[in-house]
Symmetry: C2
Subunit: 167 residues, 2 copies
């Protein structure tokens, strides 16, 4: 990857201890979002933090191979464990939005655009998409449709796009 404008190929060595830890999305109803990310995609809940005085709660999820890795002693050790990981998803619930019928949130793919999607890679995309269909997950784009036939997009309960690719 040489000669790419703007790219720094020898960053300050201190940055090599930085971790791209998480992506935060606001969700209407944590009950349906947790169901989606845990049951459909297999994520594990690492931490739940309630800020009752500010009327919001945070949920931190990640793909964890072995659940015994997750500390159970106290929230401090869970916090340390969570902060050291990469590939964490933070869901923010502003209390009360779960009473709204439709999500108040914007998925970034119509104007004004910005954030586009999150993506999961899977070992067998045909099998994964067949499983999503059987589970009634809505698709933004099915496998074989559109210009890029080898990827799919499903939609989470707030209509955020979740790209599915084969690893």
């Amino acid at each position: 990857m040489e000669n790419i404008k703007g790219l720094c190929t020898n960053p300050d060595p201190v940055t090599q201890k930085y971790v791209f830890n998480h992506t935060m999305l606001r969700v209407r109803d944590p009950e349906v979002s947790l169901d989606f990310y845990s049951r459909i995609l297999g994520m594990k809940l690492l931490r739940k933090i309630d800020f009752n005085e500010w009327k919001f709660s945070l949920y931190f999820l990640a793909m964890i191979e072995n659940e015994s890795q997750i500390p159970t002693d106290n929230d401090k050790s869970r916090a340390r464990f969570t902060a050291g990981l990469s590939g964490v998803l933070e869901l923010t619930h502003n209390h009360g939005t779960e009473l709204e019928e439709k999500t108040p949130y914007h998925n970034g793919n119509t104007e004004p655009r910005g954030f586009g999607h999150i993506c999961f890679s899977v070992p067998d995309i045909k099998a994964a998409c067949a499983r999503f269909e059987a589970l009634g997950v809505p698709f933004q784009k099915k496998l074989g449709e559109g210009g890029m036939k080898d990827i799919a997009f499903i939609k989470d309960p707030d209509n955020y796009w979740v790209e599915i690719i084969e690893a």
Copy 2:
């Protein structure tokens, strides 16, 4: 983490091979965004893909401890390597936006809200924030300000919020 409504604690074992691979953000000018994510945050560029017929390019970056891990033989092996990782950032450049003076993109933190931020954890947040200040990085919230005094938010070139926490 028991008794959390919606949470599935025994998802289908097939999901355990799923990987939360990446988060996609649209950027105005890849030259300034690559500078930010590589020089300031230390990310490495894994792949660049040009879709000239559709007038966009994709840049995949991640924190990589040892650059010799990145395959150099061909794009297929880089694609396989990239798809197997967690914590990848995909930047989408729609050709021509770099000619606009201001970013056409919305960071999700004013109406309509949705996506909130990405986050990096660092070993020493005071040192990291001092470094960002010395490098002229704009802050959304400095350490010690606001309700949560132990975190900071810097802003990327499109004004996306990048949270900084201590691991």
